[in-house]
Symmetry: D2
Subunit: 102 residues, 4 copies
């Protein structure tokens, strides 16, 4: 569970409102059972490469099914041996800001 | 307040643990008073272009001050007339997933 | 000239074909006189923070003028003392691949 | 060949100079035989989802093999029916800038 991927994905040919399409992708992520966190700009997913990227592919496919153009960004952060990165990364930052050690 | 920027920024020459440096940038964002949300992969900031990008610049400068290389990614989503985007965007997705309208 | 920014920017409410809008942004970059390189996924711009980000802002504004939603990504790489990064970065990679030093 | 992915990948624990590591990833991409284009900020790769993402995975693995932290960004643009996107996308922009149609 050492990989965290933030995925942002949407169709480019459905106009300015894409919430219904984004929800499809988030639904796919939820069904995967992988630890994840919805943010204002995407969804962070944690797991091993194959399982996370498998979910990313299904998110893409569920949008490409009825779209002619899909745009997708990923930021991926892999750290050897990390566990519970979705909570530990923000906890580290909060601890430092509160005067503690990183 | 129609622009949302997710900022991810870190030094490349400080080794694998960058939490203390990321915390500096998050501190700058908090001091700005702009609406923001810390995520596992960055911080989402909402405001007008000049104020958000002014904060991004200060985050960059506070890391470049004692680093030789800094990497930074931005995903920016501007929508005319949007208010409270940090909460409304995720709320829309949750509403659709619960069976409602986008 | 130690900052390189790759900018990808497009309107979300103009359909699948956005080449005419992307060209507007590239036109703004060309008029700036800053060193730049058009790629299949964006444009890399080199300069100081204020001048590069000033161009990024004008690219955003020229699309937001007649759009209701604009999406933008930036990858930024700052390295102290670097010159001619647009050519030196790819040259380093090619040199290593040819068996030389990085 | 309707997917274009721009991949940027580097280790976070090897100091400011990462050219030798980036070259490993570019070497993997070249060996794949997929159409690609090296840019100052990454490499654009064109193909079908499975083949492009397979290459991305091998690039990640070749860096993770001797690193404790690897950072990776992807911008992906899929368009139904597009061929030769690596050259056609920039050609469209140049044509519009020269006064032609998009």
């Amino acid at each position: 569970m050492s990989l965290i991927v933030e995925l942002c994905v949407f169709p480019m040919d459905k106009g300015a409102s894409v919430g219904a399409y984004v929800a499809r992708a988030v639904g796919v992520i939820r069904e995967s059972g992988l630890p994840h966190k919805l943010t204002p700009m995407g969804t962070c997913i944690e797991g091993e490469w194959a399982e996370v990227m498998g979910v990313v592919r299904r998110c893409f496919e569920v949008l490409a099914a009825d779209s002619d153009r899909v745009f997708l960004t990923i930021n991926a952060d892999w750290r050897r041996g990390r566990v519970n990165g979705l909570s530990s990364k923000t906890a580290t930052v909060e601890r430092v800001l509160a005067g503690g050690q990183s």
